[in-house]
Amino acid sequence: MRPISLMAVPLTSSISRNSETRVTTAKRIHDTQMKRSRVIPGFGLSLGIVLTSLSLIVLIPLSALVFKAAGVGPSGFWYIASSPRVIKALHVSFETSLFAALFNAPVGLLIAFVLHRYRFPGRAILNAAIDLPFALPTAVAGISLAAVYGPHGPLGSVFAGLGIKTAFNPTGITIALIFIGLPFVVRTVQPVIDEIERETEEAAALLGATPFRTFLSIIFPAILPALLTGFALALARGVGEYGSVIFIAGNLPMISEIAPLLIVIKLEEFDYGGATVIGTLMLVISFALLFGINLLERSARKHFGHD
């Protein structure tokens, strides 16, 4: 899937006040501009639909969270947020996502590189398969991952033989998040790798660079921003993941309990306040990651000038 490149579209600045014209004329021109500059019809309707639906479906519900969080009060908020179980749950979610994303970065890079560089039988199918974790319902992914990596599963038993438990513990969570996050890295890196001009690599080779050196000094620097973006996207997705994780996680409080699950538990206990606090924290983390991704993309655009 494409990265969040919507946000990199530059916003045209509103009309600057020309110092030559008098204030009244400038205002009149500006007002005329604002009123009649929509040459193509449909501005009011389209913007109206978007703003209304955005408010009703996304913004107002989100504000309910903020409202409720405010209602808990700063001391109440801190009390819940600092409770050991909440901290541990957030820790589990974040740590497993981090490890999964760290695994996915090099693996995703390798896959993107191989799919770009080589043609071989089955390439198209393997390429299409990358999207599976994205298209598969999370509950389906969840139970099948539990089956594969559970103690009696094909891979679970192999790992168990090596003394590694791959289910009902944080390791299982990490494995599930690897499954979920892989497409994010591959699909973010692929378009950038494809863009690298063949001639650039040939030039490097002509100048005597070995393939390895070409990769290091030509290809890798160019795709690094995309790789980081994919990493961050996988990380952000992993922190909030629920369905694919809860079947394989074991869900033991203080050990393998993820933050989204804790929210669900709090709701079932009618502890709306608790759920709100954790939800708010997760929202803040999401936005922080989102912001970071946006900055990454902006600086990538500046330094590498990709279209």
């Binding site: 494409r2 969040i4 919507l6 946000m7 045209t12 929509r38 040459v39 193509i40 019809p41 389209s46 913007l47 639909i49 479906i57 996304v58 519900p61 989100l62 309910a64 969270l65 409202f67 693996v107 390798l110 590189f113 191989v114 560089r117 043609r119 393997l126 299409a128 990358i130 999207d131 599976l132 298209a135 598969l136 319902p137 999370t138 509950a139 969840g142 139970i143 099948s144 594969v148 599963g153 690897i178 499954f179 892989l182 063949r198 040939e202 080779a205 393939p211 909030g240 629920y242 369905g243 989204p260 669900v264 709701l267 009618f270 709306y272 709100t276 939800g279 997760m282 999401s286 936005f287």
Partner: protein, 303 residues
């Protein structure tokens, strides 16, 4: 140094055929073979195995068991609900996405960047949080809880709540596909059509949509896959009332938690088949869409 042929490598396969004239950019056939095998193993191992596990359960079950599971009233109810939710969410968000793309790509206005960031919010929020916000709004202890109760309107633990939560998580899908596409198409054709006297609706239906149809289809496809498969958000708002507020993914969980593993996997394979169909259609759309763009190159106006 052997003579170098600067042919487009993407048309000349590397890896399984030896090309002596080409400078060694790929490390040679041995390295190629190793990397390709490693990649295949990784993809099959990480992604393929879980998929296989889903269908393995189906393949080992008898026809009787399969039909019993699929015709079970709770399963059918879950299927109906899933289809209903998709029928609500996909057209609605398709329309909203189209409106968003039109507003963003045909006009300049202050706050455009902010608008696009806001549209993207559901994409980055945890699905459980998406469900949570609706519970906080319409649940028993929610902001509107008592009002709804007084008027005997059920949103949480009922179909409307599920629809809303699904609308939330699938909100950006169509917009995300259409906006970059329509941005690349520009406004020139629309301006030309307007000078010829076409109304705004004519321009939309006869000029803009035909150009954007593959992107729209793609977005609707992804929206549908997510709408049918959504678990976390729906789980929070649904109440898990068997036969009433369980979608197919929730039903999978219910069966699994009751240790009816076979049945759970059978229903799961239904959803997995949907995912596979989505992937196939997605590839088809990419293929046709790319074809359409290739034979009709986009010429950007230089104003």
């Amino acid at each position: 140094m052997t003579e170098i042929q600067l042919k487009d490598p993407m048309r000349d396969p590397i890896g399984w055929k030896k090309e002596d004239e080409r400078p060694r950019l790929d490390g040679g056939p041995i390295v190629a073979g190793l990397l390709i095998s490693l990649t295949a193993i990784l993809i099959i191992g990480i992604i393929g195995l879980p998929l296989f596990a889903v269908f393995a359960a189906v393949l080992t079950a008898g026809a009787a068991e399969i039909s019993a599971t699929l015709t079970d009233p709770d399963t059918l109810a879950a299927l109906r609900l899933t289809l209903l939710i998709a029928a609500i969410a996909v057209p609605t968000n398709g329309l909203i996405g189209l409106a968003a793309a039109w507003a963003v790509t045909k006009y300049e206005f202050p706050g455009k960047t902010l608008l696009m960031a806001l549209i993207d919010i559901p994409f980055s929020v945890s699905p459980v949080v998406a469900g949570l916000v609706y519970v906080l709004l319409f649940g028993a202890q929610g902001l509107f809880g008592s009002w709804l109760d007084a008027h005997n309107i059920k949103i949480i633990f009922a179909v409307p709540g599920i629809a809303l939560a699904t609308l939330f998580v699938t909100f950006p899908f169509v917009a995300r596909e259409l906006i970059p596409l329509m941005q690349a198409h520009g406004k020139l054709d629309e301006e030309a059509a307007l000078t010829l006297g076409a109304s705004g609706w004519t321009v939309l239906f006869r000029i803009t949509l035909p150009k954007a149809k593959w992107g729209l289809l793609y977005g609707l496809l992804l929206c549908n896959a997510r709408a049918m498969g959504e678990f976390g958000a729906v789980s929070v708002v649904s109440g898990h009332i068997r036969g009433l507020t369980n979608t197919l993914p929730l039903h999978v969980e219910v069966l699994y938690n009751e240790y009816q593993f076979k049945a759970s996997f059978i229903v799961a394979s239904l959803l997995a088949s949907l995912a596979l169909v989505t992937l196939i259609l997605k590839s088809a759309v990419e293929y046709f869409g790319r074809d359409a763009e290739a034979t009709n190159p986009i010429i950007e106006a230089q104003n």
